[in-house]
Every structure is written in structure tokens, then in C-alpha cells.
Symmetry: C2
Subunit: 259 residues, 2 copies
């Protein structure tokens, strides 16, 4: 009860410190980031449904491939992006709830990435008369590195920031030391996911449109727009994470060992 | 003299605080980053000289194009990368010298980027029987955004951290507030440069090799290796910048108003 009171008090104090300009800036960047996170997924959905006839599983390989861009953007960009943003959006919940939501969002992106990965492997392996080789392109190599980093981040984060809470006092120094490393590698993983997406989009648009890409057909512009919304996200998420003012109550909770 | 003595003393104190492990880690990551910065440029040079017959200007358009990847990697990756790393490498110079070197390295990357940009415009515009359109691809759009951010960072950095030194006291609070923003956008610009490079490499390798790319010919592997060295740089530079221990003497110099 006493602890809660202190939190409420600090909360009130801190909110009062924020000027009108800070609130405006905070609202604008968080809203813009949310719009871009959902917008890039919506544009990808529009692209594959309108220009590539939607989805299927095995009965139509080209439609099965369509699952790949949509699920990868959903997992690596939309879910992961919101999972990162949560630490800035949830300004009035207890940190443990934010951490659990952060884990849930990242956990949701795992099936997306897994099914998106299987979809492209299937379309390569089942292609007739001849299977398409896997893992030859720069895009696939970047994708593999991104998935590896994502998996390491998830496992390390899960054990360090949730499981180790069982012996809270003894591990608080270790967990506090790990926070900036986890945060920095999280941002790097997000940036690599964007690099993987833009190389994938480039590959796909050249394979589909060939030389006509240079005449800027509608589909080319849509694909470029997806890529640019991802680039805008890279700039915006980088900016939001850097702004210490947007990081709510971290100093209070580090003190109370609630990392 | 007194100030110098204080610096030497703080320097000595801080070095003593670093354990053997920190020194080993610091040396390893800085050496590895330097090797990757030079290695990615060397690989790019090897690629265009060995597989695409080197350089020319206007008398041979395909050779003129070769200037584009080499100069862009030199400007946006090698020079910019070392310019960022300087703040970690120069652990015993006065901060003003580091800032001047940071400016010089970034200034050196300007002619590289400018000539690299002109080289690709020329090869597009002078192509016969028909000119190739400019700025249609996702790669070109990402490149334009990167150049824009780079230019803004350079101008803002130059005026804020060098020109405003003329009224040191009056502008110190403003300059101190700008440091994290400049640093964060600097890292983002570097990441976008890497995104521009990997999309460019993907474009070029598909236009050159076509379907044979999937059989992993030598050239494909070389291009992927260039891309992967850039991805490794993204991870490493992200890690180095995040490690506060590697940021030398910042607290001493913020106090002495030498920002």
C-alpha cells in the first residue's frame, strides 16, 4: 500500500514536470509509430491480395508464397515493433505487466515468423519441374541472422527478466546490467528485420516486374511505399528509444528492484 | 597546466577502474569493427575490379557504374563508420580534437558520396539506345533518404558543436541536450546506409546474375559476403555505442564545458 502510494506520488510529480510540448511530441511520435506499424502490414496485405491473388497452402505455391511477406512483416515488424513501443505506451501500468505484455507480443511473433519461414521453404522445395535452392540470396542470409538474434534475445530476455525474478534480490544487479544490452540488441534486431524486409521486397519486385519496374508501375510504387514505411519506422523507433523522457518511471523502479 | 594535470589524473583513475576483461573486450570489438569497415570496402573493390573490370569515367558506362558501389561504401560505411568509432578509439586526446577529426572524416565522405551519386546518374542518363530512368527503385528511395539525413546531421552537427563553440558558455546547455539526439540519428543514418547498401547489392546481383544467382556462383557469394560484413557492422557498431564504459571521459568534459 505504502509502495503504491509512493509510485502514485512519483507518477504525479513526473507528469507535472512534462510541459505541453513534451506531451504533444510524445503523442505525435507514438501515434505516428503505431500508424506506420499497422500501415506497413496493411500495405503488405493489400499488395499480395490485390496484385498476387491472396493466400493458399500447398495447393497453389505462388499463393502460399504470399504468406511469407505478410507473416514476416506481421511478426518482425508489427508485433515486435509494438512490443518495443509498449515500454513507451504503457505509462501507468506496473512494470511487471509491461514486461509480460512485451513477452506476449514477442511470443505472438514467433508463430508468424515460423509459418512465414515454412511458407517460403515449401514454395522453394515443392516447385516443379525443379526445386528452387534455399539460402542462396543475401536476403535469406540477413533473414537467418535476424531470426537467430531474435531467438537469442527472446530466450535471454525470458530467463533473465522473468524467470530470474524468482530470486529477485540476488539477481537485481545482474538484471540491471543486462537491461541496456537487451535494449540495444533489441533495436539492432529490429533494424536487421527492416534490412531483411527491404532486400526481400527488392528481390520480389525485380523477379515479378523485371525491367518494367523502371517504368514505375503501380505495383512497384506500392512495394516502394511498403519499404519506405519500414524506413520511416527505423528512423522513428530509433528516435523514440533514444528520448529518455519517454522512458517512464525507470529510475523509480530500478531503485525498488522491480527490474 | 592545472587543467591538464586534472585530466591526466582522471584519466589514470578511470583506466585503473577498467578490469582486464573490459580492456580485452574493448580491444576486440574496436579491432573487429575496424577490420570490418576496411574489409567491406576491400571486398567491394575486389568485386568490381575482378568481376566487372574496374573503373572508367564516361568512356565506358559499365565501368563508370563500378564507382557507385565502391564510393558509396567508402563514404557511407568506411569513413562514416570510422568517424563514429573515433569517439571510442581516441581515448587520450582532447575532445575538441576528436570532434575535429569526426568532422574531417564525415567531410571526407561527402566527395565520395557525391561522385558515387553522379556516377550512377551518368550511367543511367547516358545509356543508349534508351536512358535508364532514375529514382524508381526502393534502393534509390532509401539512398535519397539516407543522403538527406546525412546532410542534415552534418550541417546541424557542424553548426551546433563547432560554430557555436564561439560562445561556449551560453550554448553549453543547448549543445548538451543535442548530443544524444545527434548520436541517435547518427546511428540511424548508419543503419539506413547499410539498408541502402544491401538493397543495392541485391538489385545489382540479380540484374547481373539473374537466375544463376540461385546456383551460388562465386560472384554471388562475394556479394553476399559484402552484405554480411555490413550486417555484422550494424550489430557491432550498435553494441559498441551502447556500452557506456567505452565512452571515454564524457563526464569530465561535460563538467568542463568542453562539449
Amino acid at each position: 500500500m505504502g509502495k503504491n502510494k509512493m509510485h502514485t506520488h512519483r507518477h504525479y510529480e513526473e507528469e507535472n514536470e512534462w510541459g505541453c510540448g513534451s506531451w504533444l511530441e510524445y503523442t505525435m511520435v507514438v501515434v505516428l509509430a503505431s500508424v506506420l506499424l499497422l500501415g506497413s502490414l496493411a500495405l503488405t496485405l493489400f499488395w499480395v491480395i490485390y496484385y498476387h491473388n491472396g493466400f493458399a497452402w500447398r495447393e497453389d505455391l505462388s499463393k502460399q508464397f504470399n504468406l511469407h511477406p505478410v507473416l514476416m512483416v506481421a511478426g518482425f515488424i508489427t508485433f515486435s515493433g509494438f512490443s518495443i513501443l509498449l515500454y513507451r505506451i504503457c505509462r501507468c501500468c506496473r512494470r511487471i505487466y509491461v514486461k509480460l505484455l512485451h513477452t506476449v507480443f514477442h511470443a505472438l511473433s514467433i508463430p508468424c515468423v515460423a509459418i512465414g519461414f515454412m511458407a517460403v521453404l515449401d514454395t522453394h522445395n515443392l516447385k516443379r519441374p525443379e526445386a528452387i535452392p534455399n539460402f542462396y540470396s543475401l536476403h535469406s542470409w540477413i533473414g537467418l541472422v535476424t531470426m537467430g538474434l531474435f531467438a537469442i534475445q527472446f530466450v535471454v530476455g525470458f530467463f533473465s527478466f522473468l524467470v530470474l525474478l524468482c530470486c529477485e534480490g540476488a539477481t537485481s544487479a545482474f538484471r540491471a546490467a543486462l537491461v541496456p544490452i537487451h535494449a540495444s540488441f533489441g533495436l539492432t534486431t529490429f533494424m536487421l528485420a527492416i534490412a531483411a524486409c527491404v532486400t526481400g521486397l527488392t528481390e520480389k519486385v525485380i523477379f515479378t516486374l523485371g525491367n518494367s519496374y523502371s517504368r514505375m508501375p503501380e505495383e512497384g510504387i506500392i512495394v516502394n511505399a511498403i519499404g519506405m514505411s519500414l524506413i520511416a519506422l527505423a528512423i522513428l523507433i530509433g528516435y523514440i528509444l533514444q528520448r529518455d523522457e519517454f522512458r517512464f518511471r525507470a529510475h523509480v523502479l530500478i531503485r525498488s528492484g522491480d527490474l
